[in-house]
Subunit: 435 residues, 2 copies
């Protein structure tokens, strides 16, 4: 076997490919890809440029955060414990109106830093000035599925302009940063875009062969208002224009009718379950078992850090499980191993990245994390899946590798200057509030 | 001003005494007590044996975990995602039957270590061989309110024996470990003890002037079963024997009638809100606003690590807030500052320790933590309360001081041997499973 670039050895491996965990495993990486994964004993020679002794650690695919607005790190903790509408109208929208591209860049860098430090290797983002997010992705070394947001809000010419921007972004940044960026179109929601615009978006998706990232059925209130106005649910409304012919990543889905569920199932819509933000904004809880019983692909998202208030996928995994047990009053619902699948393989599928990431298999891109088990809260180790979902926390992530590059080792971030980014973020936020 | 033992300076202080936070503050500690807390500028001389420069950190009262069974760290992650009854009968009870006092000691040490590392300075515990927990408290340096559990389960002589043990423990360990241990009686619940036994317990409480720690109204199922058997709710049943004349610490309370609420309010019962375990076991959610609207003192607990699976009060604070916003479908319910009060001052009141801990004030015992704000997920800093409740995590705790002793500094635990305890816990758990 030729010399690898990186060899991780001695760890427990959770390949997340449907097979059991591997003890005393090894993972070899060459040219950004996995060339070996299995028992260390089965690897003939242990030779690599970089050898990582990962004894006492777990190696697993990096976590995939399928719904966020990373530049909103800048608004973390602003106007807390308020209703969504008041929070948006009185605080967020006025601040966003003042946002410059360079602010978005700073916020995105802070978000990427936070994700690296908490074991997220890939994220799906929707915001404005998304090219600035792409720049942050390039610098940070992360993988992402990015969409420039489109909100029409009754203004037809604005809608057209934003669609053009979103299309241009999707074209220009597809494959950006060593192919670590994939792109989506980003219509905000069915209620903030017109039928005409949504139809155009659907056509553009087919034309460009890109997916679409949208908020869907976020609350009961939404649902009622929309039905009063259009005589159908958001899901049916979209289905009527054949919107789900595209690859759709639909965030939230806390309020669905039985018919809606059938549509999402038949049309292979990917649902992002966003438990923390849904709870924090008091909008309700998605009924995930209803979705998975219909074989709908469910993945996980944190939402923007202004309504969460972190980008921590470990927290989201635990709360995702807890909330479903509560919703169904049944502790068996959404067990730990299923949550881990949502945060890895299901996420990859939802972002159309299954070929490259989501599990540790030969030929896939080397996107993985090492979790350090030598912590009091992870002792004793009875069940590796439960340990990761119910006991571990973001800072147990010791190392993260994306595309075969080590972005963090021993919790030291290599791709970004942690101190400088934190200072710049503080300055930018102060400046923004003073404008 | 005489020379202090410890001087913490340069930090933001959240005194949790009803007043605002203090910037560039200082806290002086002498003989285990706080002798100064306020603006650094108001402190005449900066002299102490140990000077702690806490710039970039927040000092606040240590977190108080009001309901747990710490030795159950040994069962962390065993038999996951199962219904309560099956989990107890098939796994936990058979294992507990094999538990030796020395196992309980190891489990308690691991729990104390985990609590120190996550910013908990005081905890209320209920288990068997509670003297072993007291020993762990002594070694670790933590503060606690301990109760030897009493379960009669239809066996009168067993009930008597356990009551005697609980009474002896309460007498013998009151004031143990430099007064860091206070004691309670520990009847498991109204449904697992007879009317006669509960009446005796109530009398013993008056006689010894100790409080009582009990599980109450943990689930709908419980509620229905109990009502069928006794013709009244657990709360009414206990009230009929004047049980709430004692100082009562009642864990869970997820299912209460309007009458029950009135009783808890009139009798000044202290309710421990246990969001994580309640969700994980799928039993339901306490309606905390209903309690606080009636001025009932509500504090927070993690429950035992076998049904949580951590002793992390940061996680519990965040989930406590999220869950109430969901229960009332209102994001304004249980704001961050109120959650922090529950985890500090309300906890102290519930454990009858208000005179000594729960807030940072001159004359109180020096039980405090330092939280390091220089983390990406805590930037930028817009709202210190929201940052701690919604963004911070257990490992942001940099230092912890209890009774004027530094138990951890720069995340290095001084009172316990971290590595040795983790190893011992692994060995003990393996041995227990093999017995």
């Amino acid at each position: 076997m030729e010399k690898a670039d990186i060899l991780v050895y001695g760890c427990i491996i959770l390949p997340m490919n449907g097979r059991r965990f591997i003890e005393d495993g090894a993972i070899a990486i060459k040219n950004g890809k996995i060339t070996f994964v299995g028992k260390r004993a089965f690897l003939k020679t242990l030779r690599a440029e970089t050898m990582i002794n990962a004894k006492g650690k777990v190696a697993m695919p990096g976590l995939i955060n399928c719904h966020t607005h990373v530049p909103m790190t800048l608004f973390r903790g602003i106007a807390e414990d308020q209703p969504l509408e008041k929070w948006l109208k009185n605080t967020i929208w006025p601040l966003e109106a003042k946002l410059k591209p360079e602010d978005v860049h700073v916020g995105a860098l802070l978000g990427c830093l936070e994700m690296i430090k908490s074991g997220t290797t890939c994220f799906a983002d929707m915001y404005f000035h998304e090219d600035m997010v792409a720049e942050a992705v390039k610098k940070s070394g992360l993988r992402s599925a990015l969409a420039e947001g489109i909100i029409e809000a009754g203004n037809e010419s604005l809608g057209k302009k934003m669609l053009n921007r979103s299309v241009n972004f999707a074209k220009n940044f597809l494959g950006y940063a060593d192919d670590r960026v994939t792109t989506f179109l980003g219509p905000h929601s069915a209620y903030s875009c017109s039928l005409q615009l949504l139809t155009k978006i659907r056509k553009k998706c087919s034309e460009l062969n890109v997916g679409v990232h949208i908020h869907l059925a976020e609350s009961k209130e939404n649902f009622r208002e929309f039905e009063n106005k259009h005589g159908s649910s958001e899901v049916k409304f979209l289905d009527n224009i054949n919107f789900f012919k595209s690859h759709v990543l639909a965030a939230h889905c806390t309020n669905l009718s039985t018919d809606d569920l059938q549509v999402l199932s038949h049309k292979n819509v990917n649902v992002v379950y966003v438990p923390v933000a849904n709870m924090k904004l008091g909008v309700g809880a998605a009924k995930i078992k209803d979705l998975t019983d219909l074989s709908i692909n469910v993945c996980l998202g944190t939402d923007g850090p202004a309504s969460n208030n972190t980008l921590d996928m470990f927290e989201t995994m635990k709360i995702a499980a807890l909330l479903q047990k509560l919703v169904y009053l049944n502790p068996k619902v959404l067990p730990a191993h299923e949550v881990l699948r949502m945060a890895t393989t299901n996420g990859a599928k939802a972002l159309r990245l299954t070929k490259n990431v989501g599990s540790l298999e030969v030929g896939k891109k080397a996107d993985l994390i090492l979790i350090d088990l030598s912590k009091p809260h992870l002792k004793p180790l009875h069940d590796i899946y439960a340990s990761i979902v119910y006991s571990a926390c973001r800072t147990d992530v010791d190392a993260i590798i994306v595309n075969g590059k080590i972005l963090m080792e021993n919790r030291h971030v290599k791709s970004l200057d942690e101190q400088a980014i934190m200072e710049k973020a503080e300055d930018t936020a102060s400046d923004l509030l003073a404008r």
